[in-house]
Each structure stands twice: as structure tokens, then as C-alpha cells.
Amino acid sequence: MNLHEYQSKIILKQYGVPVPEGLVANTPEEAINAAKALQSLTGTEKWVIKAQVHAGGRGKGGGVKVAKSLNEVRQYADQIIGMMLVTPQTSAEGKLVRKVYVEQNIFYPGPADPSEIYLSLLLNRKSGRIIIMYSPRGGMDIEKVAEETPDQIFTEEIDPTLGLQQYQARRIAFNLNLTGESYKNMIRFLLAIYQAYIKSDATLIEINPLFKTSDDKILAADAKVVIDNNALFRHPDIATMRDFDEEDPIEVEASRYDLNYVKLNGNVGCMVNGAGLAMATMDIIKLSGGDPANFLDVGGSANAKRVEEGFRIILKDPAVKAILVNIFGGIVRCDRVAQGIVDACNNIGNIQVPIIVRLQGTNAVEARKLIDESGLKVHSAATLEDAANLVNTVLK
């Protein structure tokens, strides 16, 4: 589950990870109040106003501004709230900004030079262990750093039975060329953020930049935390942080029916049992000259109710010009699925787009007969190849 920056920082703070003080605001008035509160709390005279959307690269699209007065706080909050923010990670239309995070400024003058570090915690799928990836070149696109200066990216792998050890934290701090207070603060930061990762069941924590202030504090200036959906059952407090406004409305509705649906930009909808076969079906649509409009795994049961919900979800997308249903009947009998498809079509009524149904496995022959004799505008196919050819034909 993706979180906003301000939510990520709430979680990090719970585990003792140092973050700048900040408050979330839904209106320019709330932003002003937040700025005043932060001023009395920290003495800050500048504020950072940050758009809260689920996309990186917000600064590049004008979604992050430094305000030097309360007037500027109002001005920037007014600009950012309600804007369609376009970043390298959004679509061309951008994402609607509904709230901003007002934060104390941490780029202030002091005895030492401030610097920006990159730090992330994630699973190394090859070893099955958590790694800390870090670089002294923070504040930039890490993929670019990896391309240009791969020697500036370091990793530290963690034994899950031991957790992050002191010597590992020391090694990281030394590799980042930290000394004195900033070195000590970095070690404390690392031990805390590893606890945050494990205890909140994160699958990614990315801090870019991790900021060393001019007085040697180590602060998470930005934060992206992704939580394992499969572990939300033990984090009811985090589960409530889900922001439905950030998700595609059709996907939100599909998730209410417990359907695994991902909206894509093509013209052929598909409904499949099993995730791998669903991806393969999308690939087949492409090979047949179409473009997949979605990913949809209806799961093992694929009964009439599920199929009907699936059709309704797919048909909400006006770009859909045809639907391919691909079911490999194993434990679930194909004739039952076929009856479900017929019932679903009759219940919905007046489906304008052609439907191609490929049923294979248990009782597939009976199933195809049932479809063919239903009087519906449904084409049946036996093999994947037949299904692909039919997609190609109906698109012409």
C-alpha cells in the first residue's frame, strides 16, 4: 500500500526516526495556521510547502516550494492545492493535488556544510534478505546515479535473525564520509529506520534526500514508505491511511468486490482465472493486434456472481471494444463457468461489445456448446490460438 509523505513520516516518527516537524493542510488557511504552529514550535522562519500525491519527482512539476513569509505560504498553498501536478512519474494530465504538507525549513546556515544522502531499505529478491542501499549523492534520481557513478552506490545486507548490527551502521556512516556528531546521529538514524521497516511490515522505505543539516542533525527530508498489503491485518492503524482518492476509481470499486483489477490504456478487456494466465492473456491480446484494457484475475471460483461483477467492472471503461474471457477450468468446471457467463450477460443485458470466451479444461466441450446455443453475441474458442484469432477478427 502506497502512503503519502506525511503519512510515511508519521510511521517513521513512531519508531524514533528523526524527521522535520510538519503539519498537513487541506486549504491555504490551514497552511497558514500550520506555518504559525511550526514557527512557535521550532522557531523556523521559512517553510517548505509540498504537494501530497502518490508520485515522485514532485519538485520538478512545481509541487514543492520554499515560502519565506506567511504570505508566501498562503500563495504557494493556494497554487498547489487544486493543481494538476505533472511529474516524471504521473500521466501527461497529471494528478490532482488535494492537500499540502507544510514543513519547517531545515536548510539553514550553521557551522558545517549541509549535504544530501540517498538511503533506502528494500528486499533483495536474489538473496531473500533486506538490504540498505545508500549513496552520498542524494537528492537526485537514484537510477541516474546508478548509471553515471555506480561506485557511489553501496549496499548493506541484513541477516534477518540478527537484524541490523552496530558494525554495519558504522560502515554505512563511514562510507558516507560522516564524522563527529553527524556520524553518531547517522548510526542512531539507521538503527531506528531498520526497526521502522520491520515493525511496520514495509516493503520499501526510501529517503531521498536524507539531509545532514548545518548543525549535524540527520533528518529524513523526504520519505516514501510502502506497506505490505498482505501484512495489513496486523496494522489496522496503517490500513486506515489508505487514500482512495489516489487510486483509479474503477480499481477501487473492483477491490470492493475483491477482484484483482488493474486499469490499463488499451481497447480489449479481459477476465481470466489466475494471475500468470491473466498476464499471458494480455500478451496474447497485444500479439493479436489489440491492446489490453486491463488486468483482471477473477480467482479460482469464477462463478456467475464473480463473472457478472467482472463484466460490470470491465464495461465501466469506455475504451473497451471487445472482451476476452480466458478460463482454464481445473477444479472449477467449465460448464459452470459458461453458465455463469450466460447468466451474467442476461443479467447485465444489452452488452454492446463482442465477447470472446475461451474455456479449456474440465467439461470444456459441454461449456462451449452451452455458450454457442445461448443465443448471445458470444464467440467461443477452444485454444489460445483460436482466441487470439477471434480477437483479431472482431477488432477489424
Binding site: R125, D228, N229, G276, M279, D291, F295, Q360, G361
Partner: protein
């Protein structure tokens, strides 16, 4: 011959009396699998499907000499069930459960690396050696004893491969589903190694998908050590970056784990890659015909 399981496998079902466990255990028994009993804490001493039920895996192993376990317990308790099976001396653990938290599996993998037990899955259809030994949830009837080893990250897509391999008349030695999670017990490479060592396996079908690097790891190993033709399909060429496609592990992170990148490396390593999953059967027939076997 076959890999990992055969008619001598004595199978224990963890989560035996639950809905899923009951249904699939009876299907396995019908197929001919030697299911020797099951475990449901609190129901020890009773009988289910004509087999004894135990409170703990260790009691069950003592009484039945079970050497394989299949797990149907819910995701919140599944990691614990795997550890219990290993601690009780089970050598092959098949975990069907989908939705186990990733960090639970990180701990389990570390534990198993220091113990003499192999895990298949989680989030997988299981393993089958036709004609008598099914330890999983796959439809048994599509399988036929034969000479092709199949390894897959996906359930229904592996059925598709099995069906095509059966229909072209080759059949399977063993089909193993390694599962769709980011931290699997057995990797594709390990399954491929076992098939290469199995004298009855003449060719291997490898079904992969986007995310991770299991397929390319296997490919590099095959390039150096392969002795049999390998046919492969990688699902998800049309999947967008950064989105999880059903399987928790099916997510494109960078440039190296897209379907295109994987296919390119597989081809460089001499693997017969098909762009359409409809061509798996035909491609295997061609690959066997052109190989020096």
C-alpha cells in the same frame, strides 16, 4: 523417474480439516497420492477422510513416518506452519497459501537455509508426478506421464503448459509450481537443475513472468551446464512498470526484470523463447526434434 516426489512420498496435510485442506486432500487421495494423515491443532485423535488427525506435526511424523507436508493454513499462520514442519523433520514442504507477509518469508527462508528441508512455494499450485502423485491443487486429469519437466511461477498458466505438452503427446515427468511470491522457497534454477539431473526428463518448460531475476539466474546456469532443450514463456510483456500484477512478486522494478529484458537474456543463453503462450507445446516438439538427444 521424476523429481522430488513419487509414489513413495508419504504426505501430511497441515490445515487438514479446513475447507480448502479437506477439499484438496480428498482430490489428492482420489488421484492416488499416499496421504497418511493431517494436522489440525485441537482436533488430534479424530479421523478425517479416513486418515488420522494430529495436534502437532511432530506427533504426526512419529506415527506415520510422513516425509512430505502440504500446507493449507491461512496466511497469518502459514510461516509458523512451515517452521513447524521443518522442525519436525519433514524434508519437503509444499506451501499453497497465498498472501503470507514478505517479512515472514524472509525469516522462514533464513531458517530453512540452516536446516535440511526444501520448501516449494508459497502461493503455488504444488507439485505433481503423474500418474499417481499429486501434492497440490492442480487438476490431475490434464497431466500424463511422460518426458517433459515443467517449472512455473504461475498456477493456471502452468496448467496451460501441461495441457499443451500432454496434447502433443509428450507428457510430464514432474510439474513443479515455485509460486508467485517475491521470496520463494525453491527457485526456478533449482528446479531446472533437478530436471537436468533426472534421466527421464528429456526437455524442460520454464514459465516465468515479470519481476525479480529467477528466470535469468536459471538461464545463466543453463548456458554453462544445460544438457537438455529448454522452452520458455515469460508473462507480462504488456504489464506497466511499478504495478503488482496479481502475484505479489509480479512487479517490474527496473530495466532488468521486464519480460523483454528477460526474454533477450534467455535467448542469448540458448533457450527457446516463445512470445505467445499458445506455442509452448509446438516449440517443445521442435526443440526436441532439433536437439542431439
Amino acid at each position: 523417474m521424476s523429481i522430488l516426489v513419487d509414489e513413495y512420498s508419504k504426505v501430511l496435510v497441515q490445515g487438514f480439516t479446513g475447507h480448502e485442506g479437506s477439499f484438496h486432500a480428498s482430490q489428492m487421495i482420489d488421484y492416488g497420492t499416499n496421504v497418511v494423515g493431517g494436522v489440525t491443532p485441537g482436533k488430534g485423535g479424530t479421523t478425517h477422510l479416513g486418515r488420522p488427525v494430529f495436534n502437532t506435526v511432530s506427533e504426526a511424523v512419529k506415527d506415520t513416518a510422513a516425509n512430505v507436508s502440504i500446507i493449507f493454513v491461512p496466511p497469518a499462520m502459514a510461516a509458523d506452519a512451515i517452521l513447524e514442519a521443518s522442525d519436525s523433520g519433514i524434508k519437503l514442504i509444499v506451501c499453497i497459501t497465498e498472501g503470507i507477509p514478505v517479512n515472514d518469508m524472509v525469516t522462514v527462508k533464513e531458517y530453512l537455509s540452516c536446516h535440511d528441508a526444501r520448501l516449494i512455494g508459497p502461493n503455488c499450485p504444488g507439485i505433481i508426478t503423474p500418474p499417481h502423485t499429486k501434492i497440490g491443487i492442480m487438476p490431475g486429469f490434464i497431466h500424463q506421464k511422460g518426458c517433459i519437466g515443467i517449472v512455473s511461477r504461475s498456477g493456471t498458466l502452468s496448467y496451460e503448459a501441461v495441457d499443451q505438452i500432454t496434447k502433443v503427446g509428450l507428457g510430464q515427468t514432474t510439474m513443479i509450481g515455485v509460486g508467485g511470491d517475491p521470496v520463494p522457497g525453491t527457485t526456478i534454477k533449482e528446479a531446472v537443475q533437478l530436471f537436468m539431473e533426472d534421466p527421464e526428463t528429456k526437455g524442460i518448460v520454464m514459465i516465468g513472468e515479470i519481476g525479480g531475476n529467477m528466470e535469468t539466474d536459471a538461464a545463466y546456469w543453463i548456458r554453462e551446464n544445460g544438457t537438455k532443450p529448454v522452452v520458455s514463456f515469460i508473462a507480462g510483456a504488456t504489464a506497466p512498470k511499478g504495478r503488482t500484477m496479481g502475484h505479489a512478486g509480479a512487479i517490474v522494478g527496473g530495466k532488468s526484470d521486464t519480460a523483454e529484458a528477460k526474454k533477450e537474456i534467455l535467448r542469448e543463453c540458448g533457450i527457446h523463447v516463445v512470445d505467445s503462450p499458445a506455442d509452448l507445446g509446438k516449440a517443445m516438439v521442435r526443440a526436441l526434434g532439433s536437439s542431439a538427444l
